[in-house]
Amino acid sequence: MGKTLAEKIWQEHVVHSAAGEPDLLYIDLHLIHEVTSAQAFDGLRLSGRKVRRTDLTIATEDHNTPTLNIDLPIADPVSKLQVDTLRNNCAEFGVRIHSLGDIDQGIVHVVGPQLGLTQPGMTIVCGDSHTSTHGAFGALAFGIGTSEVEHVLATQTLPLVRPKTMAINVEGTLKPGVTSKDIILAIIAKIGTGGGQGYVLEYRGSAIRALSMESRMTVCNMSIEAGARAGLIAPDEKTFAYIKGKAHAPQDWDAAMMYWSTLFTDADAKFDVEVNINADELAPFVTWGTNPAQGAPLNSRVPNPADIKDLEERGAAERALVYMNLTAGMPLKDISIDTVFLGSCTNGRIEDLRLAASIIEGKKIAPTLRMLVVPGSARVRLQAEAEGLDKVFLAAGAEWRNAGCSMCLGMNPDQLAVGERSASTSNRNFEGRQGKGGRTHLVSPLVAAATAIRGTLSSPADL
């Protein structure tokens, strides 16, 4: 019997396996940031160990970093301590780091691909659950905890239990105005926040193949919101073209291509589970609740919890409506928004900024709201500025910031106030995620842009 893509990559990386024990997997790339690495480095120090492969490790600062006045010292003492600790640890252990102000500083999952370090068939880990993003290149990539970070630093391996595989087949053609964000939000609404637990998801089908690399990253990014530790897409010509010319693209291109061209799920391979999605039927999608599965097409209404059969889900919906201060049955498009956040590792890449700018160009954002545009990396920011996108956003009345996670999780000063409501291109709408008491609606960059102009949840078709 044939193998799935995930099984092929797994098998290629098994260093040691024994019955009744987890497999020991080799890790090709370890990405590090300031929030989850400090105790791992401290553990190394306590046990007198060093980083085994500094040449397979790279660090950047993103979660805590301010997006304004980045030339000044970080004002928040806890953030400053975490960032300084990362800098010291990297210096002590010889790890390459891209610090605030550096051209390759930015969100860890934007930086890896843009440097060309993310390549097909690799195992990639990071102490961050959205490491699944790198799966867009046909890599097996997943988030790990702090003890595991230490384990990878010390040994460049990780003991892991082999996951099951799930195919998500998205066939058909997206309608204009529908993006990869809408695909993944629809998938999560369908299989639920726990649907992918224990699986590696493989996104397949004509609608996935039609996506650009950056759009594929958006899909894989949110695999974790469906409960899966990893999600991937088989590499193709688009993948190879994206990597070609990047700083860390393989020097022996032919050897790499020879391997990469074996990276697909065999025709006779069997997935443990298959899910089918019809791309023709998808529409712009937004969330109304406090978990990413609580979403609905923008043209629909806030659901009535009484209509939900599953008691657990009904209770969750009731609590979500109270927190979100929404009434069952109200049109989603009537929801007015205070803040639009365009950014994050889900939708903070150059294509996302271009998409949003194409809608906003020549218009003004609603006077009732603020719009924060936060590029995913310093490079994305410079690229956008070279294309004049910053001017488009500024002329519309939006704020143009420096790179980082920013309001995606509100660890830096970019936060929602109590009761404030955002339309956000990020990936988590948990209670208080973007600031204590803040209310988040997850949206695509197109919906974010249209919402910024109209002041209520909207798609470009409403303009």
């Binding site: 080799y26 500094t54 397979l56 370090l117 384990h151 860390h248 050897a255």
Partner: protein, 199 residues
């Protein structure tokens, strides 16, 4: 990780059940960037009370914590284990532990011993009668002993072996060092590197 074969020390009777990890170490103490130094956050809310057991002599120097049922429930924070170890505890005895806490303890080298609640009560009484009572936890023999009492306990062979050998997950993996070396030597050269090796 230090090897744990047998340990003799003073025991602290913590007569409470359902001690969750928020009580072991409150969230505000999680901001530290080290794995050490969490002892000041251990049971922080209770330690402000001068009557709390850890504030009383001779318990301040205890190394064996004897707690009520369901120890370590709640948040999965590894800091709870670190805080107990940083304070000086080597063994926690209870009649039931939360799964994640037990797993984290094994990862970090903190021995968790399950005894029937009746044995916990007898041990508490014995400590009350003599706060300086030496208690021995013998992992090799799987026996807790004090005064004339010898109480057997169960622990899975794999965890027991790891603790007795002093192998943390990293230590265990390093036993496969040859396989790792071999694997590394056969990795394709086109795989990316973040920097040139500066060995």
């Amino acid at each position: 990780m230090d090897k744990f074969v047998t340990h003799t020390g003073n025991a602290v009777p913590l007569r409470r059940s359902n001690v969750d990890t928020d009580q072991i170490i409150p969230a505000v103490y999680l901001k530290r960037v080290t794995r050490s130094g969490f002892e000041d956050g251990l049971f922080a809310a209770w330690r402000s009370d001068p009557e709390f057991i850890l504030n009383k002599q001779p318990y301040t120097h205890g190394t064996i914590l004897v707690a009520g049922v369901d120890f370590g429930t709640g948040s999965s924070r590894e800091h709870a284990v670190w805080a107990l170890q940083n304070y000086g505890f080597k063994v926690i005895i209870s009649s039931r532990f939360a799964d994640i806490f037990r797993g984290n303890s094994a990862k970090g080298g903190l021995l968790t011993v399950v005894l029937p609640q009746s044995e916990i009560e007898s041990l508490w009484d014995a400590i009350d009668a003599n706060p300086e009572l030496p208690v021995t936890v013998d992992l090799d023999a799987k026996i807790v002993s004090y005064n004339a009492a010898k109480v057997g306990f169960e622990i899975d062979d794999y965890t027991r072996w790891r603790l007795m050998e002093g192998l943390d997950d990293i230590g265990l993996t390093l036993k496969s060092l040859d396989s790792i070396d071999k694997f590394e030597n056969s990795r394709p050269l086109f795989k990316p590197r973040t920097q040139t090796l500066n060995d």
